[in-house]
């Protein structure tokens, strides 16, 4: 088995070269990475929902866990105002939280480190490192803050998970 350098799926049946395609993210090596770097392709994959590409995903597969386990560095921060459900990741050194494109926040946020600021009180609702943010998995308002810029990465709309 081989590891995809784009999405870090560890079950590639063929090495990531010679026009082989990652069954997880769909990257074709020699074609897609001819122009774009692996990091750019990773961001594109994440921005389009980090979906499984070929046939059915393995049971229990989770793209965010996969990225987290690979210790992916800071993902691109675009100042997107809202978030589709999924995970928000942060590196161990409190670099920017990832953003996931979307227009509405749905679903549970699994927070592996990072800061969630309660907009109402102006205080951090949670600072959790290496643990899923499981405090009832509910965020009522607030912002996910980019620690390096102190800007809100996105609004998290009132939502009971």
């Amino acid at each position: 088995m081989y590891t995809c350098p784009v999405c870090f799926y560890t079950g590639m049946q063929d090495p990531p070269r010679d026009y082989n395609i990652c069954e997880c993210c769909g990257t074709e090596f020699g074609n897609d990475d001819d122009v774009h770097t692996h990091e750019v392709l990773r961001v594109q994959w994440i921005d389009t929902g980090a979906k499984w590409f070929f046939r059915s995903a393995p049971v229990g597969w989770n793209p965010w866990t996969q990225l987290f386990m690979a210790n992916v560095g800071a993902l691109r921060y675009e100042g997107i105002s809202t978030l589709y459900g999924g995970a928000v990741f942060e590196t161990a050194k409190a670099s920017p939280a990832a953003t996931v494109a979307g227009s509405t926040y749905y679903g549970v946020v699994t927070m592996y480190g990072g800061n969630v600021l309660d907009a109402g009180t102006g205080t951090y609702a949670a600072i959790v490192t290496g643990q899923p943010y499981g405090a009832a998995s509910t965020i009522y308002g607030g912002y996910v803050i980019d620690p390096t810029t102190n800007h809100a990465a996105q609004d998290v709309l009132a939502h009971a998970a």
């Binding site: 049946q13 063929d14 070269r17 010679d18 026009y19 082989n20 395609i21 069954e23 769909g26 074709e28 090596f29 020699g30 074609n31 001819d34 122009v35 590409f53 070929f54 046939r55």
Partner: protein, 114 residues
């Protein structure tokens, strides 16, 4: 120039897994009905006669991949060991422009070491 004889119908993908994956990725670019249809198109392309707008080259490394592109259609394919298809897809116009033409694109592909 050495004469090379290509026999249409003898250039399949390495295995069913590769065929399915590449069909999932590129089949829609050719309107292929299924993976076998896509494979047949790839075979036909890799075995088609050369013409003025068909550019072809060989990699000097490893399995001496044969890369070719049709500048008219932007269809691109790679075969290795003559008889096995690696890939078959349509190159975007942007990539062609980036490489200053179809021949530039296929030459760049042949220059890749991996």
């Amino acid at each position: 120039m050495p004469m090379m004889l290509y026999i249409v119908g003898t250039v399949p993908f390495l295995n069913a897994w590769q065929r399915s994956l590449h069909f999932a990725k590129h089949g829609h670019e050719f309107g292929a009905k299924n993976e076998f249809d896509y494979e047949a198109m790839a075979e036909a392309f890799m075995g088609a006669a050369m013409h003025p707008n068909m550019h072809e080259c060989y990699r000097s490394t490893g399995t001496r991949d044969r890369c070719r592109i049709d500048a008219n259609t932007r269809h691109f394919g790679v075969a290795f060991n003559v008889l096995t298809v690696r890939t078959y897809y349509t190159v975007t116009a942007a990539k062609i422009i980036r490489h200053r033409g179809a021949d530039g694109y296929v030459q760049a592909q042949c220059a890749m070491t991996r």
